[in-house]
Symmetry: C2
Subunit: 190 residues, 2 copies
Amino acid sequence: MDLLKERIMRDGQHLGNGILKVDSFVNHQVDPLLMDACGREFARRFAQVEATKVLTAEISGIAPALTTALHLGIPVVYARKTKPITMPDQVFLTLAPSHTKGRMVELIVSPEYLASGERVLIIDDFLASGATILGLVRLAQAAGASIVGIGALIEKTFEGGRAALAPVGVPIESLAAISAMEGDTITFAN
Amino acid sequence: MDLLKERIMRDGQHLGNGILKVDSFVNHQVDPLLMDACGREFARRFAQVEATKVLTAEISGIAPALTTALHLGIPVVYARKTKPITMPDQVFLTLAPSHTKGRMVELIVSPEYLASGERVLIIDDFLASGATILGLVRLAQAAGASIVGIGALIEKTFEGGRAALAPVGVPIESLAAISAMEGDTITFAN
């Protein structure tokens, strides 16, 4: 998706060690018009999978997942990393490594909002190693839901996430696939 | 705003101790069409304040702040509760009590995205005691920005937040103001 790639070229910063800083339009400051365009594009690419719910992980998945859900006209659930007092005692919980926090985090979904029979579209900001998204896959499977698609704004193809997610057997879409980052040079796949 | 009040009447749950559970459409599962309508309404109510940026706190402020920013056509910044590795060492940081976590949390904004001269509209999911929003006010003031308005989806008028925020001297708008919760009965102000 050219709009996102151009923004990454202009405002993304390679901090070294495979870390791409997109804090000015995705992760801390958010460009809502760009997120809306990305949500519209995900809705177009996943129009045929008949999703009934979008699933993401707090925090930075919320913006693209919300705009995707808006364009599909279905609810979005964001997995919590701490269990709020409003959540029932019995929950779906899994552990996933956090790339930016350098430790394992919990991903928690209430059974109230993820049920058997749901058709789940997973949307996140990054597809890197795939570990967070695999955590969301496990939560959906624990709920007896079907996973029907996986979308990420930005894929780092050199971290192997697409191969890790292949066994899920669903379409995987990224809007900007980065094949290499060297110094200030960001190279897109294809 | 009738749409939000009706949804609270239908799906909100009073859990006791002044806690209103809205996890099925705001805080865990999000109804994107409702959030979009709320964002449009905030944009209408704050059309005259000439905001240049929306400011909120992760996590549950993100959805209404994003849709408000979308309808105003300006960026949104969400204060982080933990400092990610992509953030510079020098940040704006304040402490605020978390109602749902029962402890103090940090609210952190990078000086990269909140600058002197900005006109900041603060949007959050709840206005209860006002403590989180006052934390956002302090962050904006530390940056040398002006606060031009404060909006919350749901106000609990019996927790005194509006009085606590009065010294800020800006318009305060809530889309659903709850004056009392007794058992299963939720009473709206006016």
